[in-house]
Symmetry: C2
Amino acid sequence: MKKRLGALERLFPMPCVLVVGGTMDEADAITVAWINVVASTPPTVVMGLRDTRRSLELIRATGELTVNIPSTKDVAAVDLCGIISGHKADKFAASGLTLEPGVALSTPMIAECAYNLECRVTQEERIGAYAIVFAEIIEAHAEESIIVPGTENVIDMDALDPLTYIPGAREYRALGAKVADAYSIGKTLQPDPAGE
Amino acid sequence: MKKRLGALERLFPMPCVLVVGGTMDEADAITVAWINVVASTPPTVVMGLRDTRRSLELIRATGELTVNIPSTKDVAAVDLCGIISGHKADKFAASGLTLEPGVALSTPMIAECAYNLECRVTQEERIGAYAIVFAEIIEAHAEESIIVPGTENVIDMDALDPLTYIPGAREYRALGAKVADAYSIGKTLQPDPAGE
């Protein structure tokens, strides 16, 4: 029996990343769960950011941002970047996270995050109190230790150990065990190869 | 030492849902990892869909869609809905998934998915070969068995047991253990309550 819950803005699970705006001289980081890739031609991320965010001001000023994927050991720092305002406190001093220079762009990345995306803003839409920011991925970076040996760019999830965010329960969860290979397990149900 | 990987369209992890377009008479389901909530005023999801998708035709025809969250036990059916084309095969017959009528809207939901969102399309953008579909969440539904007892609408992740999708490795993973409470663990690092 299903229950109607009303118009809830929840989907499970959400990723949990740190978005940085600004420069090495002046930067802010914000914890973002409302983000994902939406296209590959060109590679593009989209995110929803509350209008009042200091990071958004910095992102608008440079037209750039970085997406940084923290691991479960960074959870307190990640949560802090979602709780305190960049208008009122230096999140880097408070969280212990440090910046490293961007490579392709001028916005810094978070050194402690083993996977980073440098992105250039391409479009901004508005939905109520939210800025919907589209940004093209210009360059991805990964610690060599998290790249699956023998591959060019496959990331080892056990090494990255990313966080997820669960709305409603308001908790962070780790990633679990592998369930199956994609583009593979479904073939066990496939009625007719011509349908492929 | 970090390695440059080029402009990869990857972020970790992604959710993994089934999006349905159409009516009880004619519907199609598609596996979507490029989706998330982006706003709450009004509650809005955004997703990137390849232009050639049959589901997209059906979504455009009705201006509606549903988002359905499968569990790890549905992984073969989920993968099948990503592999075969709705132009060529009836995904419901092949996957064993069944439809139930929408409550607020006319697009059906997937009965086997314990959490569903009925959504009305509000906007469509274009990025290369992708349609970026914005849809307002009109009503959420959950099996009573996955609602945390004593709460109005908090979903129990162990009961929902959702899938995640890992690009690059092309694998489905389950959700892992709780790491910490959000809006809480960060306070252990907070330097000054005035910064809140």
